[in-house]
Symmetry: C2
Subunit: 378 residues, 2 copies
DNA sequence: AGACCATAATCTAAGCCTTGAAAAAAGTCA
DNA sequence: TGACTTTTTTCAAGGCTTAGATTATGGTCT
């Protein structure tokens, strides 16, 4: 709890921490004493006080531990190593021909990448807290971390089991949209909110729902699938098989298709940019539909903030944010709704690995820290 | 925490409680000792154990305290008094001509009702824990409990303030759909679930979202407005002003309207029953639309259970539950989804007051209990 | 019946966490 | 330097929880 306050509240003095956590100064003092002697936190200068003893500023020691984040994407597997402050120290990169998403190959890439980044960054291996992996599709909770990813043709791939065979580091596997959402929540536009929704528009559409400061996962850990919120009963067929899904209208692929543009996945970005430049009517329509979808989310979740991210989301939102806000407000009349609730993501589209690395920190904040190699899966 | 386990886990022995709460038998023993001497819990018989000392069964003392629940409805204000086990002990009832919903009149009815039920049930007044009020519309949190209810023409009625002027009992004001949802959650079809959605279809449509065993209220306490989830972008105009809302298709009023039936609010039930008997195509269409809406909810919340309640919901679901499940499943393909997730409410349409009374118990479980007359508003 | 066994509940002393109050530390200012 | 201010630490006390021992209450076996 103290660690949390210090990590998210930035460097702070013992007094600040006492105010932030509600603990007494005495307790903060003894606890920070322990943390200092364990080297989890370090001193970082002083601040003069008016007339009294100067306050010592404390912060989390970025070098106390390290986290590996993995982004398993459509065309590549990228593995990154971060310190506790999430400064990127090393990166490994493996192209995957989009036809072949052999689970074992992906697992080998990940394992090789983990070794590479640890070696390259010259970080002591025993200081690595764990490996977080962001994958497309739904991850079934459990020690095997079964992954279902339509786009990869993965039906029930036990990625957790595959990886555990090759490393003794704690493992955390989660949906890529969720890891990216967590990144926005901790370090991006969602920072400081307790009730937020992060909508990620890329080729498809994913999302993260934050309730009470935490990602909401629901009973089967599959909540937050904003892409399959229905916009039009009986509408366009989605790749999930159902009809009228948001993704079937507002994924980049769908927008292009609706605009009559043929583009393979490498060209999608340029093609979407062109539609925007042209001021195609499909864009206005998309804004309107996005407003409808967001208004549903507002009524259901009443969030403090809605973050639009993902490359397509940033592209669309970058030019049409005002219109998106207006369209949402027009469909949200029952309650006082501030359009400023809707903002753009700040981390860019490559935050999946960053977010995946943050998964590793959860047990660290619980006070776990290096309790041997207990592999757990989110 | 112990009280919670005992209340929801039914009568239990100290050993059961130890297992349920994770506390040691010693702790349970000392704490139940306190609770017994305070008369909050009482002994309720014994169970033989195979070969050892028999276990003493404990339960919450229903007569330890009482709660008043108020249902402010379209045509009447009803005030009910319950003991801790939520057995109804008394009821007072005031007709309100639907034209006039003068806030002060409603407040006077409520206050009179509270006095009446306490007198009638001959319960000691100092044993009444508080008054919960369920109202239509959105309640703004705060000491005044500002109520916005379109159907009543209430813009910002400070119901909490009005009532506080007439009673010193702790007050809790909340949306009627939420109180009813809480009733289903605690005592009805939602019992035992931690992630559930309760959809209440009456003349309009309301809802309650349960996350981690608690009603989710969102940043502005207005979450869970299932009625304004959009089903059809650009569709029928809702009374909220927006278009394509679920309520504009699936409220009883809307279903009848779509079926070309003219009925005033008193006849709605009979009229809807007639449509069902006739096998009107509007019904099949409604089932399909409900399936679309529920599938959106499944994707967003991934609930353990969906409860359909409210008089119209019970009527429709009573005959078409299988079809509703099928329609939902047809729109929910991305993840393993069990149609049995969807069930009917068990408490009937009159549970608003019951649910409102449960609002009073929250502080009781926090260990508050008769700490003077600290009026708080949910 | 009496020895013995099994299970439930309680008692006791110890450990841990937190805190208020007092003391110590580290400055400023006159 | 000494008075004063503010931050930090120390210390003893209080509260909560628990492991382990003890007591309570019954059954079973010879």
């Amino acid at each position: 709890m103290l660690l949390r306050a210090l990590y998210f509240g930035g460097p702070a003095t013992r007094n600040d921490l006492s105010a932030a956590t509600g603990l007494s100064p005495a307790t903060v003092s003894t606890m920070t004493g322990d943390l200092l002697s364990e080297n989890v936190v370090v001193e970082a200068g002083q601040v003069d006080s008016d007339g009294g003893r100067p306050r010592v500023v404390l912060r989390v020691n970025p070098a106390y531990g390290y986290a590996v984040g993995v982004d398993v994407g459509e065309t590549q597997v990228s593995v990154e190593l971060f310190d506790l402050e999430m400064t990127k120290l090393a990166r490994a990169h493996y192209a995957v021909r989009s036809a072949r998403h052999d689970p074992e190959l992906v697992a080998r890439h990940i394992l090789a990448g983990v070794d590479t980044v640890i070696a390259e960054s010259e970080v002591p291996a025993e200081r690595v807290l764990g490996v977080g992996v962001g994958v497309p599709g739904i991850v079934e909770p459990g020690p095997d971390a079964l992954v279902r990813a339509k786009t990869f043709g993965w039906e029930a791939v036990p990625l957790g089991a595959l990886l555990r065979a090759g490393t003794s580091l704690p493992l955390f596997v989660d949906n890529g949209a969720k890891t990216m959402g967590q990144a926005e929540l901790w370090f991006g536009s969602g920072k400081g909110t307790r009730d937020a929704i992060i909508v990620l528009m890329g080729s498809g559409v994913g999302g993260t729902v934050v309730t009470d400061g935490q990602i909401y996962r629901g009973a089967g850990k599959a909540a937050g699938e904003v892409g399959h919120l229905k916009l039009v009963a009986g509408g366009r067929t989605c790749r999930c098989g159902a009809r009228g899904c948001l993704e079937a209208y507002l994924g980049a692929e769908a927008i292009l298709d609706r605009g009559g543009v043929v583009a393979d996945s490498a060209d999608e970005e340029a093609a979407l940019a062109r539609l925007l430049d042209e001021g195609s009517p499909v864009i206005a329509e998309s804004v309107e539909l996005l407003g409808v979808g967001l208004s549903s989310l507002v009524h259901l979740f009443n969030p403090e903030r809605i973050v639009i991210g993902g490359w397509a989301g940033l592209m669309l939102g970058g030019r049409m944010l005002t219109e998106i806000r207006a369209a949402t407000a027009a469909n949200t009349q029952a309650q006082p709704f501030q359009p400023e609730t809707i903002v753009l993501g700040r981390l860019g589209p490559d935050a999946v690995a960053l977010g995946a690395a943050t998964l590793v920190l959860e047990p660290f904040f619980q006070g776990a820290a290096f309790q041997g190699a207990v592999s757990t899966i989110a």
